[in-house]
Amino acid sequence: MAEQLTEAALLLGVGMAVVFAFLVLLIGGIQVIAAYVRAFPGESAEQNNTTNTPASPSTTELRPDLVAAISAAVHAHRHTNK
């Protein structure tokens, strides 16, 4: 068991070292990406525009059925107010 314990201790050390090394590397990677995106923003803006246009119904425009409902409401109201 002593041998296994040494192995386990070694794994503990090496494992945590590699995990940290790898994720620190990734921090660098993210910063490189961010720098790259900041350096070439033009394409980004253009791309953002195209990819940000969702297929889902826009919430700022009134949908046709709502417009129909509104006009029906207004219409109905006028008749009742006459």
Binding site: M1, Q4, L5, E7, A8, A9, L11, L12, V14, G15, M16, V18, V19, F20, F22, L23, V24, L25, L26, I27, G29, I30, Q31, V32, I33, A34, Y36, V37, E43, S44, Q47, N48, T51, N52, A55
Partner: protein, 377 residues
């Protein structure tokens, strides 16, 4: 009369062994936890039902030609298809924005993996007690419970210790469900009320392009330095790229819905089929449950302490609570952080800040699984 004897012989009753009855009770307990206590029901309900089915004498669910046998063989044993597809789906549901905005959060995700490696050591120590005889492979598979990530635990256990897979999966999902109970006392013990009140700066906006490049960068770095981790990290990044690329929304949608749901059912039933009495009713299972709790606790503590260290050396304030989210258990751990933060300071919303270490923890434990696979696999 002879037919009646055949019939009696064909009931389960004369064939039941006590272990099977106990395992059926275990299955019922899992169903209870899933349905009434709402413990990770997506997995624990199928696992519990699978445990019921696999312990029926004569029904043959887990023998050649049986449904559970087929699911386990096709989706876990021959190829880790099910855990990898689930990981792909989870990737397609993950937003790395908070992490990209604050990449140092990766350090918290790294620190929390201390729970894994410390438990590995602890599992070998347990061999000092009678009845325990974990190999280094077994110990590694058990320790990954501390990663708080179900598919990662199932993937590694299927490679290193298939006979422990059932107990490891049950422990992993149970403790993930217990995060709101396990973590808060540890978080409070390691922080002062003042620390818990720290408010953090709002995160910057992350551009679409950064989110697209990120999963590609992760897979390339993994390929170069940790190829053993590429099955998990690769499918995770693939799912994330399907989502973030914005050009294959219909694929991303299926991956996040019907595909992951179908595979979740199959995976749960297949895992349940490993809950046979011979495999589960051993003293080792008790050890696994104990070690799992230890792993979660150490991971939480390591994350919080790392966050305290970061806070000391950082120009910007870091609330140490968010370190606890580094164990992953997405998104429950982040919600726990938010809740404990609100108790100390009702104006302090830490949820978005905790999402960074939270998703970092997913990567961290997948990386840890790769290291264990490379070194003891």
């Amino acid at each position: 009369m002879e037919k009646l004897m055949v019939l009696w012989e064909s009931t389960s009753i004369p064939h039941f062994e006590p272990g099977q009855l106990i395992m059926m009770a275990v299955g019922l307990i899992l169903l209870y936890l899933a349905i009434v206590k709402k413990f990770e029901p997506l997995l624990l309900l199928p696992i519990g039902f699978g445990a019921l089915l696999t312990n029926i004498p004569l029904a043959g669910f887990s023998e050649v030609g049986g449904l559970l046998y087929f699911l386990y063989k096709a989706g876990i044993a021959e190829t880790p298809l099910f855990p990898l597809l689930i990981f792909m789906g989870v990737g397609a549901m993950t937003d790395f924005g908070a992490l990209i905005a604050n990449p140092r959060m990766l350090l918290l995700g790294a620190a929390a993996q201390f729970g894994i490696f410390a438990t590995l050591f602890g599992a070998i120590l347990l061999n000092g007690l009678p009845g325990f005889n974990f190999t280094l492979q077994d110990a590694s598979a058990i320790a990954i419970i501390g990663g708080a990530d179900g598919p990662t635990a199932i993937f590694l256990a299927s490679k290193l210790a298939p006979e422990l897979l059932g107990a490891i999966a049950v422990a992993a999902y149970s403790y993930m469900a217990l995060v709101p109970i396990i973590q808060p006392p540890i978080m409070k013990a390691l922080t002062t009320p003042e620390e818990r009140k720290i408010e953090m700066k709002q995160l910057r906006v992350v551009s679409k392009r950064e989110k697209i490049i990120f999963p590609i960068a992760v897979i390339i770095l993994t390929m170069l330095f940790l190829p053993a981790a590429t099955p998990l990290v690769g499918m995770f990044c693939f799912g994330n790229l399907l989502k973030e690329s914005g050009v294959v929304d219909r694929l991303s949608d299926t991956v996040q819905n019907s595909l992951i749901n179908t595979v979740t059912i199959f995976l749960g039933l297949a895992v349940g089929s490993k809950l046979s009495s011979e495999a589960f009713l051993t003293v080792e299972t008790l050890g696994i449950l104990a070690l799992g709790a230890v792993a979660f606790s150490i991971g939480t503590a390591a994350g919080v302490i790392m966050a305290k260290v970061l806070n000391r050396f950082s120009t910007e304030n870091i609330n140490p609570l968010i370190g606890a989210a580094g164990v992953s258990a997405v998104p429950m751990a982040a919600r726990v952080v938010n809740k404990v933060g609100l108790e100390a300071n009702p104006h302090n919303f830490l949820l978005m800040h905790a999402m960074g270490p939270n998703v970092a923890g997913v990567l961290g434990s997948a990386v840890a699984a790769g290291i264990l696979l490379a070194l003891v696999g």
